[in-house]
């Protein structure tokens, strides 16, 4: 999926409360209570799905200034009533149970008909550790090492059921062929998990694994496990460097870098023109304090955004982007209805919607079950 051989980008959007900017709710005159209603999340996901975006990311964290619903719950609430878009919740893995995470994501895959992914996220701070009181905060290299074990356990638990384990054989009285269920017997530096899962293998086999790989300690995890990698960078040249690092890490793990899609975060606020958009952002900054860009930012017109994405493809900065709207829902509306048609017109994004599983959207097949291979 090199950007040089395939013009089509993958597009995701982060659906984050009232938008990334902390002043967004007040500026857009949105009642904060409305942000917690199912209608808010369903409407956002519908808009994203309307123009065929590939992914909706649902952020999650244990500490934030704004109210945060559990992301898997939000994705599950949206899944049955919004079709045609991948749903990727952030899943905190530092203080939670890998066994629960595995069945939750597997079940999101079931209720969405094979459109689930997940993004393991770290809980880095002493404040988060204190909410659980089980273990102290740890440095990034330790947390990423643990996250790698979590991902491994999650995936192995998905595989712990072969697809044809349920046999319903009345003659022998057996519901299940237990030879097709497997103990994973994982024992690592941080925990051990026996298995098998209580939940059958999900429709996609492996729901999409998304890893944010901005810091060095994350690269081995991304290299070994990610189907999609998220990066942030101050500009496109820096993004191109990071993307190359990711591809090197993937190759180092013995995988084909073209199997992994790198998505660059692009913060977005759209208006009629750049002047108006920047004036809006200045107002937002006054309302809630300036938000320093965490990655490339476009405060401009829909065509400014399309121009940036065209450049991103040309310089090899990414295989696609994750739009991070500063203000929801207006920036998502503008992205979907104004910027995406421009991208399609320029041949940068496919036109129309596409069905099928989320893996299929990323050109990935349903993985064989390694336990089944051993069995044969």
């Amino acid at each position: 999926m090199s950007p040089f051989t395939e013009a089509r980008m993958h597009l995701g959007v982060e659906l984050c409360g009232a938008g990334r900017h902390p002043g967004a709710a007040r500026w857009a005159r949105i009642d904060p209570a409305a942000l917690l209603t199912p209608a808010h999340h369903v409407a956002l996901a519908r808009t994203a799905a309307r123009r065929g975006l590939d992914l909706a990311f649902v952020p999650d964290t244990f500490v934030d200034d704004v109210p945060v619903l559990e992301a898997v719950a939000v994705a599950a609430r949206v899944a049955p009533v919004v079709s045609g878009i991948g749903l990727v919740p952030a899943v905190p893995v530092t203080h939670t149970e890998p066994f629960h995470v595995s069945k939750a994501v597997a079940t999101l895959d079931t209720v969405s008909g094979g459109r689930a992914g997940w993004e393991p996220v770290l809980s880095r701070t002493p404040a988060e550790a204190a909410l659980f009181g089980r273990k102290p905060a740890a440095p990034p290299d330790v947390l990423w090492r643990e996250a790698a074990d979590v991902v491994e356990v999650v995936v192995r638990l998905w595989d712990s059921w072969e697809d044809d384990a349920v046999i319903r054989d009345v003659a022998t009285g057996r519901y299940l062929d237990r030879d097709k269920l497997h103990y994973i017997d994982f024992a690592g530096e941080f925990f051990s998990v026996k298995g098998p899962s209580i939940t059958p293998r999900p429709p996609q086999g492996h729901p999409l694994v998304v890893v944010r790989a901005d810091e060095p300690a994350a690269l081995p995890v991304a290299g070994r496990w990610a189907d999609v990698v998220r990066i942030a960078a101050p500009d496109l040249d820096a993004a191109a460097v990071t993307r190359e690092r990711v591809r090197t890490a993937v190759a180092a793990a013995g995988r084909d870098p073209d199997d992994v899609t790198v998505l660059l975060d692009v913060e977005v606020h759209l208006a009629e023109d750049a002047y108006r958009a920047r004036a809006d952002v200045a107002e937002l900054d006054v309302l809630a304090g300036a938000l320093e860009p965490a990655s490339v930012r476009v405060a401009g017109s829909p065509s400014d955004l399309a121009d940036l994405l065209g450049r991103a493809v040309r310089v090899g900065a990414a295989d696609g982007v994750t739009f991070v709207p500063l203000v929801l829902p207006i920036d998502l509306d503008a992205i979907a209805d104004r910027a995406v048609p421009l991208l399609a017109g320029r041949g940068l994004f496919r036109t129309g919607r596409s069905g099928g599983t989320l893996r299929a959207r990323f050109g990935l097949t349903r993985p064989a079950n390694p336990f089944a291979a051993v069995n044969r």
Binding site: E70, V72, A73, H100, A130, G133, R174, V193, K194
Partner: protein
């Protein structure tokens, strides 16, 4: 005075032999479509809530995964959140363990479900402590059995502090937990999701009286139900609570027929489906504590006595607490007294759990009797078929209950607390209740 109203929960068929998988009508236990159909039917029947059970380790028998019953469940909370999208009024009750989850994430998960369902969340708190289940979790089998309720009570205390915190920092330091920090969500529409407690022990009763909004108990006779009801409700004032604050809901099965005789015939057929020849032997092995694969399920009970030292033949399910030798003798006496019953026949008779059998009108009358005579406040229905197990109940028993004036004809409010007639957690006792 208005007639006492019956509350109904709809238990999605579970992973034990009550659920019949061999029937041609039995569908998938794990496809989302089965859950949707089941839930929408429960809502059509104006039931208070859907109920999902959970076990966190697959059952084992003689050291191997038990393969004779339905196996496999999707994740409880994920299914409930998804069902919130395709139902409007139905309460959504999930069984979540207090031992293998931490209070902060439990508080966030159930508050999220309550927000995302518009106030329909319920949490069936179960306490387990076995090292067998613990092998799937970070801390392993860390909890002494005697501390199960201590931990559960502390979980509830911390979770409630978090739900009520409204952005203020929370500090909790107790025997089980040290939790400090801010909780990121305002209370959901119900204030607190409905709390259900499952378990009949004295400790369980006290815990329920102190902390629960409903108790999921086992159905016995009318008299046993009345004794339980009186006992549990009498514990409430001690905790500053009124009789209406805790609903007693036994889990019950039912078999419907065109006539009572037809229903009894079907009930016998279902019992045979529930106890296959292989299942009969497996049950026997649980009690005998030894392998009995050589015995003919259609032949007599074994002459050998139970191996009382082999206590771990079946793991991951509740064990008989009684002395296996006494049970074996009782079963032998029972077989002899009934003209020499076979192994399978004895197991069918001794383990069958069919609470209400009859024509719809008969079942409605009997259920109503239990509620009106204070043996319970309603029932959690456990059908034997997925996903259509409630169809006939909804179509035929619900109208009978309505005709009797004992069951709602429309939902009276949007939240599960409304359905169950429970106060908002911070509302004071009414004068009548506190009197």
């Amino acid at each position: 005075m208005t007639r006492k109203q019956i509350h109904l929960g709809a238990h999605f068929p579970g992973v034990n032999n009550t659920t019949v998988w061999s029937d041609p009508q039995a569908g998938s236990q794990t496809d989302f479509a089965s859950f949707v159909r089941f839930a929408q039917n429960a809502e059509r029947g104006l039931m208070d809530f859907l109920f999902l059970a959970e076990g966190l380790r697959l059952r084992e028998h003689r050291g191997r995964i038990h393969d004779l019953d339905v196996v496999g469940r999707p994740d409880t909370l994920t299914v409930l959140n998804a069902l919130a999208a395709v139902t409007t009024n139905l309460g959504l009750a999930g069984t979540i363990n207090t031992t293998f989850n931490e209070p902060y994430e439990l508080a966030k998960q159930f508050a999220s479900l309550d927000h995302l369902s518009g106030g329909r969340a319920a949490w069936n708190m179960v306490t387990s402590s076995d090292a067998f289940t613990g092998e799937n979790f970070r801390r392993g089998g860390f909890l002494e059995r005697s501390q199960r309720y201590e931990r559960a009570a502390e979980v509830v205390a911390v979770v409630r502090k978090l739900w009520d915190s409204r952005g203020e920092p929370v500090e909790h330091h107790g025997a089980q937990f040290d939790v400090s920090g801010r909780f990121p969500l305002p209370p959901g529409p119900q204030g607190h999701p409905v709390l259900i407690q499952a378990g009949d022990s004295a400790e369980g009763r006290d815990f329920a009286a102190a902390a629960a909004d409903a108790i999921f108990t086992l159905h016995g006779t009318l008299e046993a139900g009345q004794a339980f009801y009186t006992d549990v409700k009498s514990r409430l004032p001690r905790h500053g609570r009124g009789e209406q604050d805790l609903k007693i809901l036994p889990g019950v099965t039912f078999v419907l027929g065109d006539t009572d005789a037809d229903a009894h015939e079907q009930a016998a057929h279902i019992r045979r489906q529930q106890v296959s020849p292989q299942t009969a032997i497996a049950f026997l092995e649980q009690i005998w504590g030894r392998e009995l694969a050589e015995y003919d399920p259609d032949g007599p009970l074994p002459d050998v006595d139970p191996d009382v030292d082999n206590v771990s033949i079946t793991r991951g399910r509740v064990r008989h607490a009684r002395d296996p030798r006494a049970v074996a003798q009782e079963w032998r006496d029972f077989a002899a007294a009934h003209g020499g019953l076979s192994i399978r026949e004895v197991v069918i008779e001794k383990t069958g759990r069919q609470s209400f059998v009859g024509a719809p009108r008969t079942v409605a009358a009997e259920m109503d009797l239990f509620v009106q005579s204070d043996a319970c406040d309603g029932f959690i229905l456990v059908p034997h078929l997925t996903p259509g197990g409630l169809d006939r109940f909804v179509a035929e028993v619900v109208p009978e209950l309505q005709d009797r004036g004992s069951y709602r004809t429309a939902y009276s409010g949007p939240t599960l607390r409304d359905h169950l007639g429970l106060r908002h957690p911070h509302a004071p006792l009414t004068r009548q209740e506190s009197a």
